[in-house]
């Protein structure tokens, strides 16, 4: 086992045991997910190669809060741009340039604007990476095709309302092509 394997093994995220169903058709999977959610299962993960219509309602995912992060960091960027141009040009070392006022607000608008965009964009991406728990080293993969052409639902064992046989029955009734015990 080489050194990289050791690092990967050390950094790999903890996974949990659960039951997974795999579908070929995304519509059947969304219907199944909705049923699983209604049956009282919790901590349901729906895995798909692309974002699916209706999955958020089906398993009760609320609207993302990230726009608030964008808004707050946009304001911080705007304030920083305003404060910094003022402080550097009018306070820390005032220099008369072209006879313009020390605090030449209209001339600072481009800097304030670019700071707003930069802070808002980087904070949004940072929030995405943080909330998705990324980066992850070698995360568990239930089926490699789940990032290509298959759709899966996974529910962890021991989650509130978990009932293995009932879950497998729902998967079977909704046309799952594969049902297996899997770590995720």
């Amino acid at each position: 086992m080489d050194i990289i394997e050791k690092v990967i093994a050390f950094a790999r995220p903890a996974s949990r045991r659960g039951v997974a169903g795999i579908w070929d058709d995304e519509h059947k999977m969304v219907a199944a997910a909705s049923k699983v959610h209604q049956a009282g299962f919790t901590q349901i993960e729906a895995i798909s190669p692309f974002p699916l219509h209706g999955i958020d309602d089906a398993i009760g995912i609320p609207r993302s809060f990230i726009p608030w992060v964008t808004f707050v960091f946009g304001l911080i960027g705007f304030s920083f741009g305003t404060w910094f141009t003022w402080w550097a040009s009018a306070v820390d070392w005032p220099l008369i340039i072209g006879g313009k006022p020390m605090w030449s607000l209209p001339a600072f608008v481009p800097i304030m604007f670019e700071c707003t965009i930069l802070f808002a964009a980087l904070a949004s991406v940072g929030a995405l990476i943080f909330i998705c728990g990324l980066p992850q080293v070698d995360p568990p993969v239930i089926d490699p095709a789940l990032s290509s052409h298959k759709f899966g639902i996974w529910v962890p064992e021991g989650s509130k309302g978990f009932n293995g046989p009932q879950l497998e029955q729902i998967f079977k009734d909704h046309g799952a092509v594969d049902i297996k015990r899997a770590e995720f």
Partner: protein, 454 residues
């Protein structure tokens, strides 16, 4: 109901889409691809030699001197920044307008943006003549006071605009690729391949919770990129418009530069796609004739906007009654550099009129040639703006001429080598079509096998 034409040809399934696009990164390309890459790298070597000599011996090797202090470096900087704008327009603006046809070209257009901005960014830095102190452009705490940069200068605005644009475009491009990199990771047979793409994919898992946030961030970035892209070329135009020089000091410059940027950028997307469709034939199923036609329509529309701006400039020069302003425009069209003005007008206003005809919009050889003319015309637009205003201004005693040297040509033509090298490497190493974005639009225009209700 009017039938929509399919966005993706060849009766694909989700699995064949993955195989097509991820497969590009998994096998060795053919000889034509390597021939193209070798040509691009040959040009890049010319760039390295020319710029290396300029850095080593100094800016005197280039044509710039008094009174024309801005030459090839600044012209080519504005040219490449403009090229980048179409990428953001496709990836962000068309996304916000829910234009489904954008999906299959968005990734390559964004890549074009990132590489064009990288190429562009080198030019002002090299133009300073002392690129090793380029960090002086940034406001950092230094031992000279600290002495801050002059925030009233458009050149400093440009540093902020271009660096923000480069950062946000690169992040937008990369975040868009993360799910596709995970797809390549999951297909990997080779240990190192799995590790490298695993690292690049950040360990993306594709759960509904993650997609929920991901889609939101993608939309937010599109929303932030849209005003950003408009600001960047506006601020580039301020480099000129804030100066009091006749021919530069006009309020039309920001919209005129933005329209020109979109115009030249779409022409470059058409040029690239015409080449890539030949070098990598699988692209023909994803970047269809309908895509090319849509882009040609945008080229024609923005070409008309640019033509309007050319006319408006002359009108305002006459209407203002300012002697110097009138002179500079007469000198532009009929002075010693008049030939460059007419190259610009021919390439940008007259030739794109061919796109009124469906035949030219849907014919690859024709659109390739027209797009090359637009690229040439847009380089000459920046040439006309920069050189003709500088070479003759208020005092005839300070008039002069600008003559490019072999190093100017090396820097200009070589920069295409840098750009194409980066682009061709990207096509085979990263997912060149957005796998997770084309799958949801797979069934558009395929009524006969309508796949459930969307």
């Amino acid at each position: 109901m009017i039938r929509r034409s399919p966005l993706i040809l060849g009766k694909k399934t989700y699995e064949t889409i993955t195989n097509d696009i991820a497969g590009l990164t998994e096998k060795l390309p053919d000889a034509r691809y390597f021939a193209g890459l070798a040509g691009a790298q040959g040009l890049m070597i010319i760039f390295l030699l020319a710029q290396g000599a300029i850095v080593w011996w100094g800016m005197g090797l280039m044509g710039v001197n008094h009174p024309v202090g801005w030459g090839t470096d600044i012209i080519t900087f504005v040219f490449w920044i403009g090229i980048g704008h179409a990428g953001t327009l496709i990836s962000a603006v068309l996304f916000l307008f829910r234009q489904k046809w954008r999906m299959s070209i968005a990734r390559s257009a964004e890549a074009m943006t990132v590489f064009a901005v990288m190429t562009a960014g080198l030019f002002p830095v090299l133009h300073t003549g002392r690129p090793w102190v380029a960090y002086w452009l940034l406001p950092y705490p230094n031992q000279r006071g600290p002495l801050w940069v002059n925030f009233r200068s458009p050149l400093v605005w440009d540093v902020f605009a271009v660096s923000t644009y480069a950062t946000v475009s690169a992040v937008f491009w990369y975040i868009g690729m993360v799910p596709d990199l995970a797809t390549i990771r999951d297909r990997a047979q080779n240990k190192w391949r799995k590790r490298i793409y695993g690292l690049l994919s950040l360990g993306w898992r594709g759960t509904a919770r993650n997609w929920n946030h991901y889609e939101m961030v993608y939309m937010l970035l599109a929303g932030l990129s849209t005003p950003l892209v408009l600001s960047v070329h506006s601020i580039v135009s301020f480099d000129f418009a804030v100066a009091v020089l006749p021919g530069w000091h006009t309020t039309i410059f920001p919209p005129y530069f933005v329209a020109g940027a979109i115009f030249s950028g779409f022409a470059m997307v058409v040029t690239l796609m015409a080449i890539i469709r030949e070098l990598v034939p699988v692209f023909k199923d994803y970047v269809t004739m309908d895509h090319m036609e849509n882009m040609n329509k945008i080229i024609m529309a923005t070409g008309l906007l640019v033509g309007y701006a050319y006319g408006s400039e002359f009108f305002i020069a006459w209407y203002s009654g300012v002697e110097y302003e009138v002179f500079i425009f007469k000198n532009r069209a009929f002075g010693p550099y008049g030939w460059s003005y007419w190259i610009m007008v021919t390439c940008n206003v007259f030739i794109p009129q061919l796109f009124w005809f469906r035949y030219f919009r849907r014919n690859i050889p024709w659109m390739f040639v027209i797009s090359i003319f637009v690229n040439i015309g847009m380089w000459f637009e920046r040439f006309v703006i920069t050189i003709t205003s500088l070479h003759r201004d208020f005092l005839p005693s300070s008039w002069g001429m600008w003559v490019p040297t072999i190093y100017d040509f090396g820097a200009l033509f070589g920069s295409f080598g840098l750009f194409f090298t980066l682009f061709l490497l990207y096509i085979r190493v990263l997912p060149a079509i957005s796998i997770s974005e084309v799958k949801p639009v797979l069934y558009v225009g395929r009524e006969e096998d309508q796949h459930g209700h969307h």
